[in-house]
């Protein structure tokens, strides 16, 4: 891209190896349908099994499904699951959870008897105290984002413990690209882990098609939404793969199904599987470090430019919030005229924060691009544009 992209907020400009496109363009994957006849769908089925295995590894969780529509739908389904499992009706989350995910989760669950409480974070942290006050025996689940919507890497230990102590489930929204460098949510005590899988080898493509990642504990597997592939044997004893646990699904259970979702984002999951095979554990860690170092660099430098304020302290993963001089939309327009997509103004996401800009750094942003950004930001202030 000739215009360097510093926009994130739920979808990211990571590098996509050409080999991903080459394999994903094969008709055999593209023009097949849902594996209803497993004898002639072993390609698709084995890819999904490998996908599930890799996603479990990323998040350190025992169970993954074959993917859902996107990050928002994965959160919506996690909340229905928590409601069905606990028979409780309250969900607690915070403004550090992606607002678009929250909107989808509320819409999808509007007819269920669920109440949502939103904690206002301070300093961008999903703090123990704020959640503790609201936690009680009627809470089905708390929803934590890690790293959170502002890129902050919160220490979630105490809030997770507190939630479990009242019998609430812990739903963690995470980021697959951070899983080479950050402790996995499975190790933090998450009961359900969801994520947007787009960064794993899928284009930004104006918001879709993406894929929702969904993991849960063994205890919750019978309530899990979506497709699952399992290993079995054929009549000759050969290893093979089939859709399994189908008794949860709508085509058998109809009105008793755990969810109305009857497909996965197959081709996107295929891309993700192939991407993960290429980058491997080392690539994942190196990409994570590259993102984190770039974010740290930009935060450090922007903080030194008069009028730019970084409200959140501590470690960030790939993204951070900066308050710019003037409005974020004006700054964005100034930068866009100079061929830099400077970030996502919070006002565009419906937040009541005119100055807030979310800036994202993937491994594709070069030092030259970052320095140009910083020079322009400097000019913006000194040139009297603010």
């Amino acid at each position: 891209m000739q215009t360097p992209c510093f926009m994130g907020a739920g979808c990211y400009d990571h590098y996509i190896p050409a080999a991903v496109n080459a394999v994903a363009a094969r008709s055999e994957f593209v023009t097949a349908y849902t594996p209803y006849q497993p004898e002639v769908a072993q390609g698709t089925l084995q890819v999904i099994y490998e996908f599930q295995s890799m996603v479990c590894e990323l998040f350190a969780m025992p169970v993954s499904n074959a993917s859902l529509y996107d990050g928002g739908s994965a959160l919506a389904e996690a909340i229905s699951l928590a409601h069905a499992h606990t028979k409780r009706r309250r969900i607690i989350w915070s403004d550090a959870v992606n607002p678009a995910y929250r909107r989808v989760a509320q819409t999808v669950n509007v007819a269920q008897d669920i109440a949502f409480d939103c904690v206002q974070t301070t300093g961008g942290k999903q703090a123990h105290d704020a959640f503790s006050m609201l936690l009680g025996e009627d809470v089905a689940a708390i929803v934590l984002q890690y790293p959170n919507f502002f890129g902050v890497i919160d220490d979630l230990n105490s809030v997770v413990e507190r939630a479990h102590s009242v019998g609430a489930l812990v739903i963690v929204i995470t980021d697959p690209m951070a899983m080479g460098v950050l402790r996995a949510p499975g190790k933090l005590g998450a009961d359900v882990v969801v994520a947007e899988g787009q960064p794993l080898g899928n284009y930004m493509s104006y918001g879709g098609p993406y894929l929702g990642l969904f993991c849960c504990t063994n205890e919750l597997v019978r309530l899990m939404p979506g497709r699952v592939v399992g290993v079995t044997k054929d009549v000759d004893g050969r290893r093979g793969y089939v859709l399994t646990l189908q008794t949860r699904e709508q085509h058998i259970r109809r009105d008793k199904a755990t969810s109305n979702i009857c497909t996965n984002q197959g081709l996107m999951a295929t891309r993700a599987t192939f991407y993960m095979s290429l980058i491997g554990p080392t690539g994942l860690r190196e990409i994570g470090e590259a993102c984190g170092r770039r974010a740290a660099y930009m935060m450090q430098k922007l903080a030194g430019i008069p009028g730019f304020v970084l409200p959140h302290k501590g470690p960030h993963f790939r993204e951070f919030l900066v308050r710019v001089p003037g409005t974020a939309e004006e700054f964005f327009a100034y930068m866009a005229e100079r061929n830099v997509l400077a970030g996502v103004p919070l006002s565009r996401i419906g937040a009541n924060d005119d100055r807030g800009l979310l800036v994202a750094l993937t491994e594709t942003r070069t030092l030259e691009e970052m320095n140009r950004y910083l020079e322009l930001a400097h000019e913006y202030v000194t040139g009297g544009h603010s």
């Binding site: 979808c11 072993q42 996107d70 220490d155 918001g207 109809r254």
Partner: protein, 492 residues
């Protein structure tokens, strides 16, 4: 390691089994030393790396290319899976969706930057409204099931606005399984009505159940038996008189284009599957796309955002107080929208009408050709799919599932089987418009051969297939001894 004589039936390795420590198919460019280190507290740091495969690019490419050859797919051979509309997916669609101006744009870019993308969505919306005859539309739902659920949420919002959400949604017994699942998710109870002796909705049964608790009716038209609901106008009137709304499951829209429009029939909402009617590829189970078109009275409940024109520019409008909210994180499966519009533009209006006509002709051709050996469920012309019962073969000791499995040996994907539920030993055949007469004749020939095999050697059919990469799989065993990930240890 020694290599055996190759056969398609050789067990396929898992990518994890090809993994060797230290290999990689990717190189991350070095980060400049001038950048600060990435620092996280020890308790938030990852100490054990995820066990992703470690393979070279060449190994990975070969692995997935080999896996791909174990799939049946539309580009390989006939795929007459009923209600799934497995038509040919023109290659121009993928080429256009891959244009960098589509694939590399962020959903957060300001409207002025992406007028092309917004114009494309507007054009697709207009084309789909023309096809359906409805008043307004959302492209947001990512699949048919999400589309029907979105429509039900709009029904709920509409009724709540009238002061009463109502309690039940009525469906026929031939409904797709997602219908009842979506109804429950939308907060309603399911009332299922039996079909009449002609396979259509039983009007008297409908009259008996309609009351002020009924929020609406969901009906697939043509229905899953491949029949047009000839009383549709009457049915819709009855529901409307009772204050309810009517939803058309558009799974079978491939039979209607240029012939009849749900909007003209009086429907309040209908979804379309772009991955069926409008030729976007199925991708092994997704991505789909399930836009929902609505009548004027539901327009204000559409999900946000909707496209509007502001100061001469197309832009997204979020401020819609009666909207149900959003069902997708962004604007839906945009890549599929590009493909669907490419298809519509290449076909043109006359082309779309010809598609439905040919889909119907092809289905009736198969219906007529197979009727000598297979029991036709209902003796009347069908729409886009022909439904048979395997009862005659069952009498010979062969089940529909055996017929399906035997088709695999002939390189043909079986029809949808055992659905709709009201047809015993059901075979639901949807050839689509994009097959030649030669392909249809070959299929008929194979089906007649299988019928003869059923007479001559039923035992052989019961163990089919013989030639596929794997043979019949132990599905019950898979559920009993659950193995759904490779590293099945406590560490993950």
């Amino acid at each position: 390691m020694s290599r055996d004589v190759r056969s398609l039936q050789q067990e396929s390795p898992l990518v994890f089994e090809l993994s060797r420590p230290g290999r990689s198919g990717y190189q991350v460019p070095p980060t400049s030393d001038t950048l600060p280190e990435f620092e996280v507290p020890a308790n938030l740091k990852r100490h054990t790396a995820p066990r992703l495969p470690e393979v070279a690019e060449n190994t990975a490419v070969r692995h997935y290319v080999n896996l791909s050859t174990r799939n049946h797919h539309v580009d390989k051979d006939f795929y007459p899976l009923g209600s799934c509309t497995m038509k040919y997916n023109p290659k121009i669609n993928d080429e256009l969706a891959g244009l960098r101006g589509f694939s590399l744009i962020s959903p957060w870019q300001p409207a002025a930057d992406i007028q092309g993308a917004l114009q494309l969505l507007r054009d697709l919306s207009d084309a789909l409204l023309e096809v359906t005859g409805m008043d307004d539309i959302t492209l947001q739902p990512a699949a048919g099931a999400q589309g029907e659920f979105t429509a039900l949420l709009m029904f709920r919002a509409y009724h709540l606005k009238q002061g009463n959400a109502r309690k039940r949604i009525v469906i026929p017994d031939s409904a797709h399984g997602t219908n009842p699942a979506s109804i429950v998710l939308a907060g309603y109870g399911v009332t299922q009505l039996p079909s009449d002796s002609k396979g259509l909705m039983d009007i008297d049964a409908l009259k008996r159940t309609l009351d002020e608790d009924v929020a609406g009716l969901m009906i697939t038209n043509p229905n899953t038996i491949g029949l047009f609901e000839s009383n549709i106008a009457k049915i819709i009137d009855l529901v409307h008189e009772a204050g309810g709304l009517v939803y058309m499951d558009g799974a079978n829209l491939n039979a209607l284009m240029g012939i009849a429009r749900p909007g003209d029939m009086g429907f309040d909402a209908c979804h379309m599957n772009l991955h069926k009617t409008f030729s976007t590829p199925h991708g092994g189970g997704g991505p789909g796309s399930g836009p929902v078109a609505v009548s004027g009275k539901l327009a204000k409940y559409l999900p946000v955002p909707v496209i509007t024109r502001k100061n001469g520019l197309l832009d997204w409008e979020f401020d819609r107080p009666d909207s149900i909210g959003s069902v997708h994180t962004f604007y839906g499966n945009f890549g599929m929208h590009v493909r669907a519009l490419a298809y519509i533009k290449s076909m043109g209006g006359d082309g779309l009408a010809a598609i439905s006509e040919n889909a119907i002709i092809n289905a009736n051709y198969i219906r007529s050709k197979l009727s000598s050996a297979y029991q036709i469920f209902l003796h009347r012309p069908c729409m886009h799919e022909a439904v048979f019962s395997g009862n005659l073969q069952k009498a010979k000791g062969v089940r529909t599932t055996d017929i399906a499995k035997r088709l695999l040996d002939y390189g043909i994907h079986p029809p949808t089987v055992y659905f709709p539920l009201l047809v015993p030993e059901c075979l639901m055949i949807e050839p689509t418009e994009s097959e030649t007469r030669e392909t249809l004749d070959e299929f008929v020939d194979v089906m007649l051969k299988i019928d003869r095999e059923a007479s001559e050697n039923p035992e052989m059919l019961k163990h089919a297939p013989y030639t596929t990469p794997v043979r019949r799989l132990d599905e019950a065993g898979a559920a009993r001894n659950l193995n759904i990930r490779y590293f099945n240890d406590a560490d993950a």
